[in-house]
Symmetry: C2
Subunit: 677 residues, 2 copies
Amino acid sequence: MPIKANSIISKKSGAKKKAHCCSRVMIEKVSPEIDAGLFPIKRTVGENVVVRANIFTDGQDEITALLLYRTVKEAGWHEVYMKPLGNDLWIGSFPIEKEGDYYYSIRCSIDKFSTWRKSLDKKMIAKQDISVDLKVGILILEEAKKRIKKESIGRIADFLKQLRASEDINILSAILINDELLTIMRKNLNIEDSVTYHKELKVSVERKLALFSSWYEFFPRSWGAQPGKHGTFKECEKLIPEIARMGFDIIYLPPIHPIGKTNRKGVNNSVECKDNDPGCPWAIGSQEGGHKAVHPQLGTVKSFRHFIDKAKEFDLEVALDLAYQCSADHPYVKVHPQWFKWRPDGKIQYAENPPKKYEDILPINFETDDAGNLWEELKSIVIFWIGQGVRIFRADNPHTKPFAFWDWLISEIKKDYPDTIFLSEAFTRPNVMYRLAKGGFSQSYTYFTWRNTKREFIEYLRELTQTEVAEYFRPNFWPNTPDILPEQLQYGGRPAFIMRAVLGATLSSNFGIYGPAFELGVSDAIANKEEYLNSEKYEIKQWDWNKEGHLKDVLAALNKIRKENPALQLTRNIRFCEINNDSILSYYKATGDYSNIILVIVNLDPYHTQSGFLQLPLDELGIDKGRPYLAHDLLSEDKYIWQGETSYIELDPQRSPAHIIHIKRHMRREQDFDYFV
Amino acid sequence: MPIKANSIISKKSGAKKKAHCCSRVMIEKVSPEIDAGLFPIKRTVGENVVVRANIFTDGQDEITALLLYRTVKEAGWHEVYMKPLGNDLWIGSFPIEKEGDYYYSIRCSIDKFSTWRKSLDKKMIAKQDISVDLKVGILILEEAKKRIKKESIGRIADFLKQLRASEDINILSAILINDELLTIMRKNLNIEDSVTYHKELKVSVERKLALFSSWYEFFPRSWGAQPGKHGTFKECEKLIPEIARMGFDIIYLPPIHPIGKTNRKGVNNSVECKDNDPGCPWAIGSQEGGHKAVHPQLGTVKSFRHFIDKAKEFDLEVALDLAYQCSADHPYVKVHPQWFKWRPDGKIQYAENPPKKYEDILPINFETDDAGNLWEELKSIVIFWIGQGVRIFRADNPHTKPFAFWDWLISEIKKDYPDTIFLSEAFTRPNVMYRLAKGGFSQSYTYFTWRNTKREFIEYLRELTQTEVAEYFRPNFWPNTPDILPEQLQYGGRPAFIMRAVLGATLSSNFGIYGPAFELGVSDAIANKEEYLNSEKYEIKQWDWNKEGHLKDVLAALNKIRKENPALQLTRNIRFCEINNDSILSYYKATGDYSNIILVIVNLDPYHTQSGFLQLPLDELGIDKGRPYLAHDLLSEDKYIWQGETSYIELDPQRSPAHIIHIKRHMRREQDFDYFV
């Protein structure tokens, strides 16, 4: 059915009362409002929601606009006055204080008393006769008294009593322009003069970890006690203290399930597989079980639970991979053959992206007529691992499954387990990635891995943080993954690894690495590809985690800085700074009250020392241009006393490719001594 | 009720079939779509609607997107294939060919045959085994045959027959990659694989005059046969041939109704009124009648109809003023006192905008409890004048009446009289002006009157033509009105009048003047105001229409150029050109097929000769940089042969402040001779 313009406008209007002012205020261009309210925005507890709208009415009447908000459980609205910014744009904000989703809307009223008072003010200035106006004011008060909130009735009665006691224009006007009276009247606007926006917009509230997290991915099979021997969960427990020391929050494991044997891939993704090749963990399922089983060489469901418990002791959570695909040996193939695509030659269709073939992996046919049962089974996998204590899932290639499936799955899971976090591994076109985020994914992989130049970073971060995207898409920046070894890391050496770690950890509040390939600086790639040579995806590796030159301390320092500085626990708050060198990227992040300001300066050139003059916008930061302020590099512990907007910066990538500077806003001259002892 | 994301996604999906691909294609950011489809876009017959959307699906499948459109009277959709522009953005367009409103939407399908064929192509290039793929192709064809349109069944059967007759891979693949087959299959997509956008968006179609019009406003009372004597419609008929000669389409008359006597304003808006002062026509209503009556000194309803008929003979329409306000003597005051605001002193509230007072005018109280009857009566005024042959109304100060009233009024009138045109005289904030346009006004006054500098014009035209506003707001550019004599016209002399006329007539396809004050160059203003001294609003003027230096011939030339060049009959098509002088504004307009290109160059400085180098974007215009092209100034009849993108421009405001150049794209060297003889 076509939408009729009158449908909302005449909501309250019968034939007799069409022009009632309840329809006089227009509320337009409400933001945030994702796809006309179809999708919620996302927040975590402690964040604000800033709402803007164009609000106006015909004529000269004054408007009061209230931002309304409530949690799902509350019946009534909380109200916040919105402020006019001029040209009909109004702004207001409310805090997210509790777990659970919120709703917001806007209610506007024609404010008759304010309108009357404004007109009176102008007439008084112009020294016009106001005797009739004063009578009108009294009438408005008398009307208001009939419907005013209990707590105000007494005061209004007082005012009216005073007004009735006098005929003197000066006395009457003095009473009527009393500020207390204006405040009372504003709080008691006639609901019949108000109009509420026709939508209730939703805020999906998740726990803090959805916004601020450090992920550490590793392959447990590479941590066997003896060289070349398959590692177990039990053996992997010994890694936990060190991962915790590096400051990570989440241990993410590639699929831990039995691996198929049919068409198993050999080392370097070879179609020839040797007997002792372990296969790719994403080829899920064998006679030993499917998505709800643990690979026998890793251990058991019980030993996995023990691993989770051990991690918990170190404040670490364990994330699992949600890869909805099967090896040919997966039990589903026999039990539910209808969930796969069958070819005319009687074989099941394996995954392909012509001319590429993935013979060891069978995609699930989401278009099966048995989709209802399929979806329920896929949901039961998540429920199963939630039962084992997992609350974080990294979805593998979600963009190759229907959006409707993810919308449904995530909403189903969150009903019972609202603390569940889903990370979308969709390396694809922006609209697809954004649609998955709208549908409920808490976080998403991004293009960060391939962004290298200053212009690229500024443009990309602008898109992620300064557009509507920032309201629902939480980026997670990964310098590397088992699938991606970017060119910068292949050629740039240790400075490049540090530079990428600093960028990932400070540009985005969510960040992750695939270790220990990252902290050991592994840079050997397949020729002309951005892929690891001898990838851990197809073989058991042996890692010397304490090899000279490892970056574990750098990562530990970065995560410590992130945890100690709330400015780095947000992504939306990034602002770029001017610096007259295209090889140096600089940005700052600050908390809303500017109590924590972190300035990051990164040399994007891993080969050469770069220098330039940085412009710090002191006005924005509330720093007095005439007074010195302290710039404390949290990486090197160097401290600089700066003054004014311009500072000389020089970064030698061999020493350190980056500064992460805590800006101390107001140095008190006398007390600075103890800062330097 | 909160909106649920799943509500549209699961529309067709039962528990058994949740993942059916009917829900796999996403259609997002459809444009134009005004306020989530609440308001229609506007077009006239002959225009196109260009529709863009982000369209994508999960996975690798090919998509076919159809732009759907139909008139209100048609049950079925017309279909146009949309084209992908990359990064999920698709575009399509359809023509408005008939009177009456249109609807449009988008239907997308997973195109299984194209998907299959694309995969086959890649495998063939990679020389992979395609035997199974060919069998899959045949299966797709066989499935399609069951539900294919009648006219294609024969050809599909032919193809299948050929396919069954062979086992040879080369023969099979040759048949299956036949382009005719692809075309047939694309035309016969399975409706079950398709999804239709959840809104039908509306196009409000008006007649051409809503888009392209020249308005001439004059006060009939100033055209009496004897000096100072009140003019009549009969006497005004003698103006019609000359207004037609100047090329105008519409004669717009200020209110023609009886004028109130109570608090009548004297000359120059004085509160002291002399006996023979005629009063302001906007103070409507006296004992002689109200909004449905004709001022006795002008004539009768009958003589007004005669005036309309006379105008029609010259292809001129007559527009009336719709000023919903009353003098204290209006019959409504006695018959419907409840339609006005009454003050505590027992008097009716007159119009005021403190400290300004309009004692001769009573605003209507749209918040009256009797609003139902009030609205019907106000509608009946429009119906009355429609009955006399009027189809164009200029609404006075519509922004001081409720938006809901105008929404209702215009929609009611257009139901029975779709050829009615409403011009909104809302000189107020942009959001308010745009809201009135969304609600149905065909055209609107603008800020043109106060835009003077190059930057102001470029920014304002960008807002009006390159944003969503262009879809529903049709600007009407007036260099002057009885209310406004802008400073430029007060000080700039004849060059300023010509410059403003050229700008109004070529920047906007709708344009109007208040004459003969304009063509006679009246520039006397009230001190420090942009208002006419001795305004015709308060007195009867005597005009010497043929006074030396009049601009009637310039206006005639401008309107002739507008009528002969379809490029000037649109506003959205404006593109600005670079020129290295901030006092020269240059822009071009072209028809969609570039068969008509008009380049306008205006010296914005009425005092000095200005010159500069103009950059004409020849690539955009499809002009060969290596060949000369003819630039023909339609104002001066000068012709220039230009070559390349840069041309020297010099404009002496005393000679002519503007060029309006017809660009002849491809000069054929040999045939150019006859162009110059």
